[in-house]
Amino acid sequence: MSQHADILLKEAKICLSNISSLNHHLNALISVRPSESVLTRVSEVALRCTESRSGLAGKLFAFKDNFCTVDQPTTCASKMLQGYVSPFEATVMTRLYKIAHAIDIGRANMDEFAMGTDNIFTVYGPALNPLYSTPRSAGGSSGGSACAVAAGMCHFALGTDTGGSVRLPAAYCGVVGFKPSYGLVSRHGVVAFAQSLDTVGVIARDVQTVREVFSVISAYDPLDPTSVSIELRRQLQATTARRRQASKGKYKIGIPLEFIVDSCSPDITNAWAEVLKKLHAQGHELYAVSMPSIKSALPTYYILGPSEAASNLSRYDGVRYGYRANVDRVANGVLYGMTRSEGFGSEVRRRILLGNYNLSSGAFNNHYIQAQKVRRKLQLNFDRVFSVDHPLEKPIDRDDQPTVDFLVAPCSTSTAPLLSDVLSQKSPLDSYVNDVLTVPASLAGIPAISIPWHTDDGKVVGIQIMGQYGDDDRVLDVSETIMSL
């Protein structure tokens, strides 16, 4: 056996041993492949694939429970989908299996239907943060994915990010969590939460692995109506090459003033300041920039997201698949009432109610339509700040304001909270406000990444880097730069 195969097997064994020793406590994975079959598969792949063929060949990964695969149930951590086995496979899974020859070790825990920020709304019980000995939040909704990576159970993991669901758990768990530009990675076979915001994201311990996974899964998919075309991908590549050459490794960094929020803990603001100082010391230029519409981002997100979710989740009626109650209708004759109130957990029910309220004819114009307008404004705010034009929009007049290559800001308002604190929250709003730093990039559809920053006093804080739409590769470039500071 080659040296490369030896390394792969050795790494796989470490992952499997971490799973067997940690998963029963951390609850990161809700289904685990048998060790023997994983090792057999690693050996097979190692024999067939040389080192040069794919950096991911024989590497292990976990994936969030909302990616469809054909051999295990896809449940979205919901009672509603217990036992549901999809007849088809998500495009990204196929690409990882067939093109990258990566090997999955099992499905990762999550907040039910990707709604939550602490991975507590799950039929499998909370996933825990592996960085701490006392039970702390792993973050959500892709908490299991971030936890599995941080605990060394796999080389990387797939998650989904609708309003921060990859970045926030990555920040809490001290790993890298990348949300690509909207539409670059196929969502075919990924159970929808809110399609105008949903993206597939990657979690790993280093940016290089994220880059390798991203290069495999970022491809045009004719099965996804929102997939970015081949022509636009070519255009983006050309632009990236041009910008890389022009910047020569020195960047103009924006400090978005609206990300300075009262709820930020000192740990976070200190870490942010450290990063900025070091960037400055390295010769990168810093600019304070303002995007006023960010103040409305959170309410906008909590109108649009739940509205789309309420619509998407209408299909869970127990007729064709999934959980079904003993009676078809509730006392007043409304169909599926019992099935849906028994099958969905509390957070999902809350968001469906919120969404349906916003879509009702009385509220629609004042809520949904207004939210769409604010979203548009926010997108224009971002366009005005970035030095480069949005590839899908007309060039805009920037009023001679300073423009920047990237924005650097915190990813969360605090480090991972205690699970007990999270569970005793009185109002769901307490957790919704955690999204304040992540939803702006989701609403704008731009690439955003959370990278772990180890502060001088030993804390791990998620630092968020955002770039113009389609500037994903350079967001990864600057992330590597910052991680090496």
Binding site: T74, A192, Q195, R315, D317, V319, D328, L335
Partner: protein
């Protein structure tokens, strides 16, 4: 009620032909409908091979749940991919209805829970439809009696998905669901309340059916559910009431009439007319749902379907490639040199046989035979023997040149058994219809039928009857006994017309039998 999903074979249904416009155009035309205003909402199934947002096939009589894809069933993780052909058909329809075409339209979701609506919503175009502001002109010949010309305004034309079918079993608490129809492409056409009598509403729907069938947009058949009609009715500016799911032209006429009376009665009893949804069972109107306005569909722009963008080019090409429309064709057919009567022109059109007629017309004219003969042949002779619903196969089976050859053969008397030429001609046509793999020329098949005709007693009978009919004066002399020997003349004529294929004994026996049947007194003269 419990809802079950289970496969069940539905019985096949017969397709019936369109009703002729003439049959209802005169229905109670003289009744007064003062103050009546009707608008219609029509759902038309587009005649595409695959569904609106998936690549499963469209079907009508297939085994239930045989043509169903992941998206049709709203499986988690499935996504819609728009069928471009459906968009092109909608564009054709909108162009023919003189609509304003919107270069940017959007898809929206309309939510309601029902077992045959798997996603819990229907994808439709609510906020920004593909087309609006059109008009379809009705003429007197379309069945409107009070006005020469009447424009029915089209307020909106939108693309949307069909639902599945719920099948209720009698004496059972089970409902079966067939998802074959789920996601079949539809267009919904909504008119302004421009129709002021039931006949005008019927004339509009009928004209639309013919137009859409002519364009290949939809089969337009009521029987298969390819067209579904809702009518809204108001009187004297009162509230609108909607009659749902009318299944024939007659139902449209009679239900509007009934609803008009109901509303007048309501008012005369001093009660206000409430906006309600009504059902029609073929005889009676009944209120199905009160307060139309209270339904909450929670419309939302579909977040995963990009806007539908049409290029100026495709809009222009659709307009330029539009075939001649029914009105123009009828004008042509009823004018010289064709000068067909309106009914024949409409029949050719409604079966999609105008081009067929023109093809035969041209060949006949080149052979110095009056081309318009083709119309009688098609309508009177051939349509009667073509299986119902298979009319559109006719031009490819009995091709224009085949039928033209047959008509020419008959006119030029190359079908030699003269008086039975039509029988043979019909047999040849039947033969072609039943043996679609046979590519022989018409003349060869005629020969085959001439041969089998030899000695055929039906044919002998036809020749004899014909001879007797042509010489009724002589028949009189034979029957009355004044000149019995004249029977020999008849035998001679039969021998001649039959080209000697029948012997004199058989001929005489057949002649005498026919004479006896038609003239009982002849039997006496024989004794």
């Amino acid at each position: 009620m419990r809802i079950y999903v289970r496969v069940r074979v539905l019985g096949t249904r017969n397709l019936a032909v369109f009703r002729d416009a003439r049959r209802w155009a005169s229905t109670n035309a003289k009744d007064s409908y003062e103050g009546l205003k009707c608008g219609v909402e029509i759902h038309l199934q587009l005649d595409t091979k695959t569904k609106l947002f998936s690549n499963s096939r469209t079907s009508f009589q297939a085994t239930p749940n045989d043509h169903v894809s992941y998206f049709d069933l709203a499986l988690p993780g499935s996504q819609p991919i728009l069928n471009k052909h459906a968009v092109l058909l909608a564009l054709k329809a909108a162009t023919a209805l003189n609509c304003k075409i919107h270069r940017r339209s959007m898809f929206d979701r309309k939510h309601y829970f029902y077992a045959d609506q798997p996603a819990g919503y229907q994808i439709t175009q609510y906020y920004h439809a593909i087309a609006s502001d059109g008009v379809l002109w009705l003429q007197r010949r379309d069945g409107i009696s009070s006005r020469d010309k009447l424009g029915i305004r089209i307020t909106q034309l939108q693309i949307e998905q069909d639902t599945g079918k719920s099948v209720y079993e009698i004496d059972s608490d089970k409902t079966y669901i067939d998802f074959n129809r789920t996601n079949h492409p539809l267009i919904e056409i909504v008119t302004a309340p421009d129709m002021k009598t039931p006949q005008e509403a019927a004339a509009f729907v009928h004209k639309l059916q013919i137009l859409m069938k002519h364009l290949g947009v939809s089969t337009g058949e009521f029987q298969s559910g390819a067209i579904r009609v809702d009518v809204n009715v108001s009187t004297n500016g009162g509230k609108r009431c909607e009659i749902k799911n009318l299944a024939s032209i007659n139902d449209i006429i009679y239900s509007i009439r009934a609803e008009y009376s109901r509303q007048l009665n309501q008012v005369s009893e001093g009660r206000a007319i409430e906006s309600v949804t009504l059902g029609w069972d073929g005889h009676n109107i009944s209120v199905q749902r009160e307060k139309e306005g209270s339904l909450e569909y929670r419309y939302i722009p579909d977040p995963e379907l990009p806007p539908l963008l049409l290029s100026e080019d495709i809009i222009r090409k659709t307009r330029e490639n539009q075939p001649k429309l029914p009105d123009e064709l009828i004008d042509e057919l009823t004018a010289a040199p064709h000068s067909l009567n309106l009914a024949n022109a409409q029949t050719l059109l409604s079966y999609g046989l105008v081009d067929y007629y023109y093809g035969i017309y041209k060949i006949l004219e080149e052979a110095d035979i009056k081309g318009k003969n083709a119309a009688n042949w098609i309508i009177n002779d051939i349509l009667g023997i073509v299986p119902v619903g298979e009319e559109k196969l006719l031009p490819s089976v009995v091709t224009p040149s085949r039928l033209a050859d047959l008509i020419i053969a008959q006119k030029q008397k190359t079908i030699t058994i003269l008086t039975v030429s039509e029988i043979i001609a019909m047999n040849v046509i039947k033969y072609f219809l039943q043996n679609q793999g046979d590519h022989r020329a018409t003349a060869e098949v005629i020969d085959q039928y001439q041969l089998t005709a030899m000695g055929d007693s039906n044919i002998l009978e036809a020749i004899c009857s014909n001879v007797l009919e042509e010489h009724s004066d002589l028949v009189e002399l034979v029957v009355s006994g004044k000149k019995p020997s004249a029977i020999k003349f008849f035998i001679g004529m039969v021998m001649k017309n039959g080209k000697g294929r029948f012997n004199p004994q058989d001929s005489e026996a057949t002649l005498k039998r026919i004479l006896t049947e038609q003239h009982p007194e002849y039997a006496n003269s024989q004794k």
